[in-house]
Amino acid sequence: MILLEPRAFDPYAHLSAFSAEAVGAGAVASFIGVVRGDDGKGVLALFLDYFPGVTEKAITQAAEEARRRWPLVGVRIVHRIGEVKVGEPVVLVAVAAVHRRPALEACDFLMDFLKTEAPFWKKERRKDGDVWIEPRAEDYADRARWDE
């Protein structure tokens, strides 16, 4: 399931439902990203722009790519769009597999994808104004680990 979510969501309820559906999986790896507010930049919220239709398709393709690389039982990705408040989850990636390493690696792979290759644009709403964010050099390097 790939979901672009315009409202606050409960990642633990998603994870619970996802695990219940992942019949035969012995391993569920997950990643939850939360908007940080206490980093001295005065971030009040994020705003996430996206390209309707294209963003969903890109994420779906990344999930298919993960299934091609690892034997997986299931993948769920929930990503906020629009305004996201400090402290709210902005992304959930959950991967179920028979064994742990495929689940953990695919989760890592999908997060690197979302940071640099999924059509999202992130703006920080700060006390002193709005700033569009680009990935760090580190994010691109992390993504390059998966090049075949």
Binding site: G33, L48, D49, Y50, F51, G53, V54, K57, H79, V90, V91, M111, L114, K115, T116, E117, A118, P119, F120, W121, K122, K123, D130, W132, I133, E134, P135
Partner: protein, 82 residues
Amino acid sequence: MARLLFFGALSDVMGRERALMLPENVRTARALIDHLCGFDSAFAAAYSQSRLRIAVNEIIVPPETPIGDSDEIAFLPPFSGG
């Protein structure tokens, strides 16, 4: 009229969407970028700051891709999700 879409930082300076009758000499995505840089200094400034990707009819394509007046051309600054 071609339909132009702008995302991220570009949408702040250009709005989300514009319709444009493509000039006769603008026949590729790259030529369209040059054209926009020429007549819109805000676009030129935003463009110079980061590598753009171009999507024609929702498919990301190289800048040399031919475009026409029935196309939707989207300008995509570097992605930053997660």
